[in-house]
Structure formats: C-alpha cells, structure tokens
C-alpha cells in the first residue's frame, strides 16, 4: 500500500496567475546567477569561404541522401529541371509562387519543355499540390554544417510544396550557403517574424521499427537541390 497523493490546494481561479505566482514564490529562494552563452564549435569549420562551404555541404548532402546538382548559371536551370522532370516521367508539378521563378518564367518554361506536363502555379490548393508528383520551391539559405535547406512561407500551400508530393526539388544560389544554424538564426532576416520557417535536412524518414531506416514516410522520398553558381 502506498500513501495517497494529496490534491494540491488551488490558490486562485485563474491558472495563469497561479502558475506564475508559484514560479515567483519559488524564485525568491533561487540562485539569481546569470550565465553567459557560448557558441557550439564543430570539428570542421569552413568559415565564410564559398568553396569550403560548398565542399562541406556536398559531403553532408551525400550522407543525408539529398540529391544535389551544381549548375554553372541560371541559364542552365530550366533545361536541367525539365530534364529531371522528364526522366522521372512527372505528369503534374506544383511550383512555388516567388519572384525568382516569375523572373525565370519557370511555369511557362516547364510547360513548354516537358510534353504532357501539368504545371500548377500560384493559387493551387493543398489537395491539388498533394496530387502532384513533384513540388518545386526556392529556399532562403542552405546550412552547410548540417546539409539543411531553409524554406519559408506564410501560406500553408507554400509549405505543402515541400511536403505533400513524392519528390521535392529546391532551387538555391551558391551564395546562399551559410556555415551553421546557430549563426544563421542569430542574424535572422526581416521576413522571420511573420513567416513559417521549415528546415529540411533530407527526405522524410523513420527508424521506428528495429531501427531500420526507411526513406519516404509521410513526406517526400526524394529531395534534390539545384545549386546555381552565379
């Protein structure tokens, strides 16, 4: 027999007030010391050298099963994307609405280059995006230390592009490579307060059954990054 736990006496009708009061009461006796923060250092620190960043990122991508293609310039992007869609026999592709893709005329270019391809542009709903074979997005940054793509968006449909299809293609410029997450978050860009930020470090996976890694669970089974040198 164990002794019964006594129900706690309620001090206030408002749980918020009570919880904060309990913290304040306990705090009086607490250690008031403040500690400074230190930064996590890595065995390989590429600094800001673009070639070193790229070399580290490539190693991480290979290790995390992120496909990557380094392109010499924007001119070659449209043909490369079209070739990849064609070779995958993609029938429907959903494209993010963004300034870069508008400038490149991506929606029209893909529709013109890949026969029988249905290209979903701005305004596509989540159901339509889920039925697409490939979702194409840009990203805000690429973190070299962890091989992570930093995506952003306000609309759920934008975020769905990197989640709901079987394959996710992401387009970025080499200059968007940054060393590590901690550093990138400390100098966050202006869009940050309002938009969701999704960090993608490879295709969806699980190891829940006997720790066997299975790629492609709820999210895409393939993530490919098209890195453009400008």
């Amino acid at each position: 027999m164990t002794r019964e736990q006594k129900p706690r006496q309620r001090r206030s009708d408002d749980p918020r007030e009570e919880i904060l009061e309990r913290l304040a009461t306990a705090y009086k006796a607490a250690d008031e010391a403040t500690v400074g923060r230190t930064r996590i250092a890595y065995a390989t620190e590429p600094g800001s050298d673009p070639e070193a960043l790229l070399a580290l990122a490539r190693e991480r991508f290979e290790n995390q099963e992120v496909g990557y293609h380094i392109l010499p310039g924007w001119d070659s992007l449209l043909d490369t994307l079209a070739n990849h869609l064609y070779s995958r026999q993609a029938r429907r592709v959903a494209v993010q609405s963004c300034e870069l893709f508008d400038r490149l005329g991506l929606v029209q270019a893909l529709a013109g280059r890949v026969p029988d391809l249905c290209v979903l542009g701005p305004g596509a709903g989540l159901d339509e995006i889920a039925a697409a074979d490939v979702g194409i997005t840009t990203c805000e940054a690429v973190i070299a230390q962890t091989g992570t793509l930093v995506l952003n968006g306000i609309e759920r449909s934008t975020l769905g592009l990197s989640l709901l299809g079987g394959v996710h293609f992401c387009v970025a410029a080499v200059r968007q490579l940054v060393p590590d997450l901690e550093g990138w978050l400390s100098g966050r860009p202006a869009w940050f307060p309002d938009e969701a930020c999704i960090l993608v470090s490879g295709p969806s996976r699980t190891a829940d059954i006997e720790k066997t890694v299975v790629i492609g669970v709820h999210g895409p089974w393939k993530v490919s990054l098209f890195l453009v040198k400008e």
């Binding site: 159901d127 470090s201 720790k211």
Partner: protein, 474 residues
C-alpha cells in the same frame, strides 16, 4: 499493482524484449558517437546547451508571459493548465466547440503524460496517432517504451502482427514494407482530420516561434492540413531567443537519434496560417513543484532527447515499461516525484545503479545521478509500508553496528571471521538480504582500511601523496 521486483524479473526473462533492446540501443549508441564526433568537443557543446537551458529555467516567470504576449498579439490563443485534468478539459472544450470528430495527434510526451488521447476519445473525438511508432503502440493498446522510439521494445514480426490484426495491413516482417503501409493508410486521415494536436520541442519567448522537431513529416502534415492546430507544451519548454533554440537544435538530434539534424524542424511564427486557428496549451502538472524543489529544479532543463535512456544499463535490461509511467529511464526517475502518478513515485528510483552513464550522456548537463539520489529521498512517503519497515529495521541495526569505534571494529571483525570460517553460510545470509542474489558480494579485504590509512600517513610525504593521487585517479 505489480511489485517492482516481479516486473523486473518478468522483463529480464522476456527474451524478445532483451533482443529488441540490445539491437536497437546498440545501433543508437553507434550512430550517436558518429554524430558527436562532428562537434569540436562534446563537453563544450554540453556547456553551451546547458547554459541556454539553465538560464531559460531560471527566467521562466519572465519568459512565459513574454511568450504569451507575443503569441496573443498575433492571434494564437494561449491557455494555461495547472494539472493534467485541466489541460485535457481545455483541449476537449476546443474540440467540442468545433464539433471535431477526428483528430490527428503527432508524437507528444506531454500529451501522453496528461492522458490527452483518452480524454478526447471519452469526449467523442477519434484520435489517430500519426507517428509510426506511436500508431503501433496505440493499435497494440500499449504505452510508448522510449521517449523518441515508442515501439523500440517490439520486433518487426510483432509490429507486423499488430498492424495486421488491428489495422488490416498485409502481414509482413519487413520494416520498409510495414512503414510504407502505415504511411499509406494514414494519408487520407490527415486530409480528413478536423484538428491536429502536437507537442512542442521549444517555444521562443523573444519572437513567439513554436519549434517542432521530427523525421517522418507527420507533424507537418497535421498542422499543414487541419483547420485547427492545438500545441501542448510543458511550461519548461520555453527558451529566450532564436539563437538559443539554434544551440539546442545543434545537440538535440545528435543526442537523440545520432543524426546531425532531424529531417524537419518547423519554426511556426506567432501568427497562425491564414484560415487556421492555433492554440498553445501551457501545462504545469507538477513542474512548478520541481521548480521550487532546490537542486531538483535542474530536471526542468531536460530537452527529451532520450540520451540518458540509451546510455542507461538498467533501461537496457528492463526496457521502458518497467518504469510504469510516461517517462522511463533516468529522466523518468527524477521527474516522477513531481509529474508522476503516486503509484510510481515510491519504487521507481530503485531502477538505477548510480553508475552515472546518464549524466555523462546528457547534452544539457543535468546531473542525473545526483538528482536520482535526491529523488530516492523524495520517494519515501510513497513507498510500500513493509519496505519502509524493513529498511528502518536494517538502518537501526546498521546504526547500532556503526555507532561507536568499538562496535564498528567488532562488526568488521565479526564479518571477516564469518566470511573466513563459514563462507557458504555468509553468502547465503547475504543473498537472503536480497543484495547479492544476482552478484557476488566482495570478500572483506585482508587488511582493514583504517589500518592501511594509518600506514599511509606514516609514509614519507612525497610517496604518500603520489600513492593517494594514484588512487583518486583510479
């Protein structure tokens, strides 16, 4: 309630469990070593992460209102709950007000702790766990056995049988086939769900971001597709800044799964997505008791990576269910006095050999072994009365034997003589006390410590210091 000893014996005799634990924990440890090797120094990373968590816990009373104000200002509803019942009631009210019949739940330890799944079900809302491991244990009517790997205790064959019998999935022992089948079955459920419930890995007070960490994409599916998103968090999950969140993310995946980063980290802004309602439920449920419990406050630094479980030799032998509640392993022992149900508070702290492996593995520097000793002190009021009586009797006898120089010497002499003259009977007596039933008790040393100590003091000082120094290092 089953006696802890019986539970342990049962787990040790379960061959399938032993195999599953040895296989899975071996893999996790190897992967973790590889991931930590990419850091310049694990010790320095622990230092950085523990500073972040220490400061966040110390500043809870300031950071929580700051977080609330950021969220409420942008349209996220913030609800506070003193205990599990209040938290469940608030989430059930949300579901009722929106006539929610189906809800997807992604892996959340705090939701498990407060029994949210059962509360929603009782209120008429069907809850479908969307994390693969959680879905398996839900179908098996079991509890998760590990913080990050809920069905770690099951073999692929057992998982295949459960999925086949309870969900109609084709019988298989292939993890890949099983994982894909579950994902395929859950796909329409995400589109059909009227509400998504998730946990929170961190909430950033400065900006109001909610940080969710996962590998499968089920959590993203939930909050992307459902019109209502309810996030439940223990009040200690707040951090001061985005940079602090970055520091913790750098150690979380490495410690938890041996990955340098999880496949997905979502930083949800304080403003909900257009066309979606978002709620954050901040749960106390004993955490303020831990905050006010002196050195035990350190247990609130935990980031739920499960590294202490993976390192623990006791967990490796008995598995998570032996601990009897939501949080198994070393962290479960130190949280139990505050968050645990009364029936586990008594004996759980005995599931520890005080080897300290958990403390060495913890990425936020929680001195778990020291806290477990303190938790043993707190367990006293909840222990079975007969166990307490036995212990008191033993301590009385022990106190009498140690209570004076002469008595101490006589008890030593008695033990040594008994060990030398009647070794078998002495071993039997020790085994009957329950301590040496499964291991050999060390024989008394030929020379008493006091005598050796006296001798050493008589040595030349340089030699004596070296000798003592050598012993300390050993």
């Amino acid at each position: 309630m089953t006696d802890l000893r019986d539970t342990v014996r049962e787990k040790l005799a379960d061959r399938a469990l032993q195999e599953a634990l040895a296989r899975s924990l071996g893999i996790v440890r190897d992967k973790r070593e590889g991931a930590l090797a990419e850091l310049a120094s694990f010790g320095d990373a622990v230092d950085a992460a523990s500073r972040v968590r220490y400061q966040a816990v110390q500043r809870l009373r300031e950071l929580l209102p700051q977080l609330e104000s950021r969220l409420v200002g942008e349209g996220t509803h913030v609800l506070w709950a003193r205990d599990a019942a209040e938290a469940c009631r608030k989430v059930v009210d949300i579901a009722r007000q929106r006539s929610v019949l189906r809800c997807v739940m992604s892996k959340s330890m705090v939701a498990e702790e407060i029994g949210l799944d059962a509360a929603l079900k009782a209120a008429g809302t069907a809850v479908i766990q969307s994390d693969l491991g959680e879905r398996v244990v839900q179908l098996a009517h079991q509890r998760p056995s590990h913080i990050t790997a809920p069905c770690l205790h099951l073999s692929a064959a057992e998982v295949g049988r459960i999925l086949h019998e309870r969900s109609g999935i084709e019988l298989s022992t292939d993890p890949e086939k099983l994982s894909r089948s579950v994902a395929k079955a859950l796909r329409p459920v995400f589109f059909d769900a009227q509400m998504a419930v998730s946990g929170i890995n961190m909430a950033v007070a400065e900006t109001g971001h909610l940080v969710l960490v996962e590998n499968e994409g089920n959590c993203r599916m939930g909050y992307t597709l459902a019109p209502v998103h309810v996030a439940v968090m223990g009040l200690e999950k707040v951090v001061a800044s985005l940079q602090d969140a970055g520091t913790l993310l750098s150690v979380l995946a490495r410690s938890a799964m041996g990955q340098r980063a999880t496949c997905y980290v979502s930083l949800l802004p304080p403003r909900p997505f257009p066309g979606q309602e978002r709620y954050l439920v901040i749960v106390d449920n004993g955490r303020t008791d831990a905050f006010g419990a002196g050195p035990m406050r350190d247990c609130l630094r935990c980031i739920r990576c499960g590294a202490c479980l993976n390192a623990c030799p006791v967990y490796e032998r008995v598995g998570g269910h032996a601990y009897g509640w939501t949080y198994p392993g070393p962290i479960g022992i130190v949280l139990a006095p505050f968050l645990g149900p009364s029936e586990v508070r008594g004996e759980i702290s005995n599931l520890c050999s005080l080897c300290g492996a958990c403390t060495e593995a913890c990425p936020v520097g929680i001195p778990l072994d020291r806290l477990i000793v303190l938790a043993r002190g707190l367990s006293h009021p909840y222990r079975p009365a007969d166990a307490v009586r036995k212990e008191r009797r033993f301590l009385k006898w022990f106190g009498a034997a140690m209570g004076g120089r002469l008595r101490y010497r006589l008890s030593h002499l008695g033990h040594r003589l008994a060990g030398a003259w009647f070794p078998e009977r002495t071993r039997q007596l020790e085994a009957s006390l329950g301590w040496s039933g499964t291991r050999a008790a060390p024989r008394p040393a030929a020379e008493l410590f006091r005598k050796r100590f006296r001798k050493r003091r008589e040595l030349p000082s340089e030699l004596g210091e070296r000798d003592q120094g050598g012993r300390r290092d050993a």
